[in-house]
Amino acid sequence: MRPVAKTATVHTAWERLGASRYVVLDSTQVAVRGDRYLERMELVKTVVDSPNDAVAAPPVPDMRLVLADVVRGASGARNAVLVSGDGFALAASGADDPTEHAAMTAAALGLGRQLTASAGGQDLRQLVIDHDGGLIFVWPIGGCRAVCVLADNDVDQRGLRRLVRAHGARLMETS
């Protein structure tokens, strides 16, 4: 199986750790061989002998544009951020730095999933925060991402949900 990892991620890990070999786990996870970290890794799928063997990912949609589409398409939506499950901002519709917003979204989702489990549920579908200044929606996208939308109180919720659902597959793609 050929790896489909982000080439940039592979190179970063490679250079930082100065390893002689590395392991591609899935589309986003890279483990480096030749040091002690490898023994902790799970799900090893592919071993690659040099960075040059890594295959560049196919062209993917610009996530920023996809998010901007979502915000533009639903009246009352202000800002959308695409977040990895572990709290990195992958893209944002606006110009503000989404770093902290992304980490808080991931933490809220983490706790939300624990609350879901304690209530006997298995699948958290959405997280809604209703505050005096508006609404915040968090929708999981696949198993390991989420989109967080900041909106006015009178946002077109149906339209917003429909848009996010419609763009779900694109937001899942590795950028």
């Binding site: 970290y37 709290g87 980490a103 991931a106 809220a108 706790l111 390991c144």
Partner: protein
Amino acid sequence: MTQAFKILVTGPFAAGKTSLIQSVSQTRVISTDVATTSDEAAVKSHTTVAMDFGTYVLDGDRTADGPAADPVRLLLFGTPGQERFRFMTDILKAEADVVAFVIDAEAEHTHAAAGAELRAVLRDLHVPCVVAVNRCDDTATARRLARALGALDGEAAVPCQLIDPESGREVVIEILLTLLASIETYPEPGVPGFDRAEVA
């Protein structure tokens, strides 16, 4: 009546905080582990994004001439390690009685930032700390590292191998001893007053 103490388990990314809580908790650990992405995935496969929560209960001693003493319950609150989740540490640290600071002895690149973080947390909290020095077998090394991070001379530095559950117990014992010492010094548990003025 059960006496409950709040233990803040913190420290840098991949130091062993979740392992510590999972190895010693007697209740099911509430954990917020998710798969890592980006170059953190090169270090480990999962990471805490909000908190870990576990408990450790110590039954009171039975004495020949009286009833058993009250059980002591340690509530272990683990934080994420990465800088981007610092707000969780700020939430979780409130009212903590002891800081259990976990550090990976071999991950030297994390030590400088960890020291700054430990000193900042302790300056805010005014409570004693126990430094759990993971992947370390010798007390002298653990103690030297703990001092370098900002722990005081009297504070515990525990060498441990947190992949081994028995090793986690050593840390809990030091936490209990530290609590005992602070109760003796300050009769009401949790009362601020631990003087850290001498720490730079």
